[in-house]
Symmetry: C2
Subunit: 331 residues, 2 copies
Amino acid sequence: MAGDRPHEFELIKRFFAPLATDSGSLGLADDAAVFTPRPGYDLVLTKDMLAADVHFFASDPPDAIARKALRVNLSDLAAKGARPRGYLLGLGLAVDWTADWLERFCAGLAADQAAFGLVLWGGDTIKSGDGLQISVTAIGEVPQASAVRRNGARAGDILYVSGTIGDGAAGLKARLDSGFAGRYGLNDYDLAHILDRYLLPRPRVDLAGALSDHAHAAMDVSDGLFADAQHIADASAVDLRIDLDLVPVSSALAKIRDVSPGDFTGLLGGGDDYEILACVPEVSAAAFEVGAKAADCPVTRIGEVRNGGGKVELESGGSPVRSSSAGFRHF
Amino acid sequence: MAGDRPHEFELIKRFFAPLATDSGSLGLADDAAVFTPRPGYDLVLTKDMLAADVHFFASDPPDAIARKALRVNLSDLAAKGARPRGYLLGLGLAVDWTADWLERFCAGLAADQAAFGLVLWGGDTIKSGDGLQISVTAIGEVPQASAVRRNGARAGDILYVSGTIGDGAAGLKARLDSGFAGRYGLNDYDLAHILDRYLLPRPRVDLAGALSDHAHAAMDVSDGLFADAQHIADASAVDLRIDLDLVPVSSALAKIRDVSPGDFTGLLGGGDDYEILACVPEVSAAAFEVGAKAADCPVTRIGEVRNGGGKVELESGGSPVRSSSAGFRHF
């Protein structure tokens, strides 16, 4: 063991075993974890990979990188109506990793395990080439047969979105362009808000119950509001109409809209929101809103589902809007 | 879409969706898969990562790389007594990947899904930096409370190993050293055998039932016979005695033993075997052997479990043997 660079067995014992707080994790001292599913529940399984300088900046705080890697997966689970239970972590460490960095990375995981109620079940660590890569497999549970899919939207459903849209994409642009805030008259608060929303998504884990109870279809907004609406329209073979004037935005995005409606619309479709886009039947709308409020999760009606062949129609001021934004491609 | 290099949505549709043969995979057209666990079964979860030129050669046939990535995980499941059900695939493609390469990679996955009875539940693909990285999360099921751990070995248990040991490590050496076969007098058959065993592990999936029925402890031999025996000795707080003369070997390894007993012992501890090391109580030994035979899986008694504090003792010709082999560290 090379002082600051423990090998795999020490690595597990020192950094990862403390995160394996479930007896089924076997203290990470086995080849595999054992999990006894609860009767009456389905499991929801998702996997997202993140690479340095594609999905995050290598210079980001290690705890924020860890939490983002976990949270983008929790966002997928939430969109399906599932509560997180556990995860497996694949870590391809860059050649220049340090024990201090890994300690802070694991502190981020520990904080989010506590915040979102899940445990580390297992994983693997290898030496990556030129940059950090993180692969998280997250598993959640949902009452049997009530997982929310993309393909269940029906004409007449109300289209909801949680939180505010566009902040993550704006934060990425501000991160890359020091003139961004000045150009749109953003104050320090606005700038800090959008930077933070890019750095650290807020997965809508608490909305899972209201979604599995009431939503016909849902997904999380990661590629971008319009691209993800298109995914639902495609999967459900319906049209989605979005009224851009109804899309909830932060004060930062409102200022950007005042300066450049075109830039604003681009950011709405820019991705990295990790909010929930949901289609809820009219008859369940009131109950859905009550459930969302009880979960302390703001949801806003932004449009509706119509019969059609898979189009997403944008409107503003009652008129159609053309958007060239196709969403951010992570690959 | 750039002709030969489809982007992620086409990638999923063209290459991965055909592998998602379970309805719960939702055709990979959703954020997550849904899996309904069978009542009365526990789930066993494992994750192994592989990197080009660490765990395989970048120039290996793509279908063999895919199968190895899947099989090292299936080997972990088998050691726990679990039958595979599904997996999630994380793929960090090297910058120079081609559609033809990926097609052959997926053909390997398809072949092994059919051979071992599991389905693709989901995954993610990103652009890796300088080399291919593969992360597989595999999930299996085992009758409730009958998963086989490392920590259950007890004094008096018989130590078994499946198949033959040392072939994978010999295959790696032969791959790296064109004089290897000549030095030990290996013929073409021997050379082909060890090269093949390094390229393509044979996970003992069919042994899972006999293990969960009869074994006190088990693990798969990946780090090396002695290192992995040490893992069991540590976890179970027992001593393990291995009679090197009883360790089953191929004709290739027997020839190496004749030329150099030291090199031979080094290869026994070299790793990459993906055979099963199991501790079975004397009273169940006959039934375990019958079960292994029914599964068409050769198992051999190579030693025993004794009271002690976690030592692995090697013997040959009735005398103690010192081994300096600490097993191969993949990290």
